[in-house]
Every structure is written in structure tokens, then in C-alpha cells.
Symmetry: C2
Subunit: 209 residues, 2 copies
Amino acid sequence: MNRKVPGPTLMRLATYLTYLAELDAKGVDTISSAQMEDRTGINAAIFRKDLSYFGEFGKPGIGYGVHELSAKIAAILKVDREQGVLLVGAGNLGSAIVAYPGLRSRNFHIAAVFDNNYNKIGRKLWDLEILDIANVKEVNKQLGARIAILAIPASAAQEVAEMLVEADVRAILNFAPVTLRLSKHIAVRNADSVQELAVLSYHLSDQDA
Amino acid sequence: MNRKVPGPTLMRLATYLTYLAELDAKGVDTISSAQMEDRTGINAAIFRKDLSYFGEFGKPGIGYGVHELSAKIAAILKVDREQGVLLVGAGNLGSAIVAYPGLRSRNFHIAAVFDNNYNKIGRKLWDLEILDIANVKEVNKQLGARIAILAIPASAAQEVAEMLVEADVRAILNFAPVTLRLSKHIAVRNADSVQELAVLSYHLSDQDA
DNA sequence: TAGATTGTTAATCGATTAACAATC
DNA sequence: TAGATTGTTAATCGATTAACAATC
């Protein structure tokens, strides 16, 4: 278990897992790195290199056992067990996140929803009661979630992120368009879709735009 | 206008713009690369290097004019003009996207919403009528949108993406957990948040997970 | 002029990829 | 054994960063 796994490798590992789980469900037994390239669009050499950071999972001349490799990658990413997730922000995005079946199917489980709006606190978001963000530390003593999703406006994101860290959250998926400044030990990933759209916009040719 | 701008540079450009627009609104006149680093967390040398792909925007000893630089970056990313966007998928995520004010404020404008579900077609998503995805080519002849957002299940994504390309869309933001296989001339960015959560999950220490 | 900060160079660091010996 | 495919090496490619001459 090498310590220095490249960031892009981790993202690709998650992609491999998506496809392997699908193949496994279909009953496919074995797959080669070249066949994976056909499906994922990721170069076969990169696929093999990515796996090599974690061990040897294939058989020369044969390929990889789909079920076995799927299980191995799930274990590497720690998605082989259920992960509790705190959701902050009971707005439209928060609502879509709670309703999204893709979370459950990949072992992520929204353990609680928080907001700071007193018109929302106490009401329900789907089947979850909306809790006061002021109580997050207290609540998470019971829940023990280590991952949180920030689905709130940029103006509140830094403050709430600090509260989450206080509540023992170690990893944050941030949908707000702001750079969180937190301890280096906290893993943060940004998911600002407007930023993604801006990059796409750049790629339009001038006659298009 | 160099042809070979690194991908990470484009993402950072969008980040700079977020902060510069904010500073500009606050009436800040001038900012140095070191001050930008304080705000964005992005190294000052990288900031200057990123800009250097597009020209010289600063004054030695002084820094950068906030308003001017903001306008320049907006022009580079082509977000200085309104960009029409087709949204496919009138589910919970689609609903959150239409309602998100951050799109409008950055000049992205949802021009039409499509779905393939006959229970939804003809109904409204907020103030937009849900149109039949089968008509996307026809409809976009009028609208002329070049960007689309895919907020549909993975099983339909490839097929719909091909329809979008037929309808002259050149850039796709894909929320479905699937790798789209399209012509190299089509820009695609993936925004699979479950994949992001998996990467965060990896970073949890074993005692946490 | 003195102080500050740019734009760019060059060194470093890291990731991708082709090629191939090892092995099933 | 012959054919296929792995895991790894080494070459290439690309991005980050420190350092500094140029310049306001």
C-alpha cells in the first residue's frame, strides 16, 4: 500500500469500480486491461499502472477476475463498508442529493441533514428531519460520520466547514464556489459545476460562442 | 492565444474569476498575485504563469487591476456573453440546476429542458416547459445552444449525448456515472459526485472508516 | 531612487505511455 | 508449446515552482 498514489489514479479507480460492478452484475467473469480501455476510454497501460500501486490483481495471459477486482478496488476506496455522510443545506441541491439512488447503491448513506434556516429546521427533507447546524457536533457524536457534503451558499461555506471539522468530519465534498481553507489533514474536493461550465465554454470555437 | 493551455490552468482561471468578480463588486482596485494566493490558496507563481498563456495583465511593482483582469478572464473563458445551455433530465437534479442562481449570475442561461418521460413532457420545471428529447435537434435549430447538461441516468447518457451532438451541441457537462464516447471535437466534463465521494472515502484513515 | 511585484526562465517534480520480459 | 496479457521499466511528456532580471 504505497503512500504516494497520484490523485488522478484515485479518480480512475472509482471509474473502474463503476464499470466492474456493472460487469459483475452481468455475470462477466474475466476482463483484460484492453477490454477495460474499450469501455472506460482509459488507456490499458494506465489501468495496469493504477492497479500496481496496490498490488497484483491480474493473471498474465488471462486478465482480471471481475468480481475479485471489483471487491479489491472497493476495499481500497473503503466503499466496501457503509459510509455515513452528513449533508449540510436543505435546499434544492440538498434535496436532489438525498433523493439520488446512486449514493445508496455505492454504500454512501446520508446520516443526517442540517440547515441554519429556522423555517426549515424541524421540517423534513424526504424522510429526514432537518436539524440545526448549530447542533452538528453534538449530533455527530452519536452518528460518527466522517464525510460531509456542503450544499450551501459560498458565503456560509467556510464557517460551516470549520464547524464540521469540529464535529470530527475528515472529508468534505464542497458544492459552493469557494476555496475552503482548512487543516491539511482534512480532505476536500470541490464540485463547482459553474466552474466546469466555464471550462467547457472556453473550448467553444469563436463562431459557436 | 496559445493553443496548448493546460487543463488545470483553465479550472484555476474559473476560480480566479470567481474571486475577482467578488473583489470587483466590493470596489477593490488592485490585487497582487501574493494576495490572490491568500484568498484562493493557489500559489502566486502558478497564478502568474496561468495568466501568461494569454498575455500580460499586471504591472510590476503594482499588481493587477481587479476590474480589468476580471473582464479579461471572462473574455478568455467566453463567459462575458450569455451562453445558452440545454438541460436534459427533469428530475431532482435537473430541478436544482434550473433553480440555481449561480448559473444566471455567471451568464449561463438554461434555454430549454428536455426529458424522455411522457409523464413529464408538457409539464413545467419551474417556469420552463419540459420538451421531448426526441425533438432536441429541431428545437436547437432555433435556440442555437452549444452547451448541454446531462442530468439523466447512466443507462440513457450515451444515446442522449449522441442526439445532442446531432443537435450541434459542442460541450457537455455529464452528471451520469458513465464515460461518454464521442468525437474528439466535443468537449466533455464529468461531474460524478459519487466518484468524488469515493476519492474522499479513500483518504479517511482506517480508524475513521 | 528604493521597494514591490511582474513575467519568464530553468530546475524539479510528477504523470503518461510504449515497450517488453515474465508468466499464465 | 503458442498465444495472450500482465506488471514494470524507462522514455517522454507535461505541470509546478523557485528564483530573478526587468520594470513600475
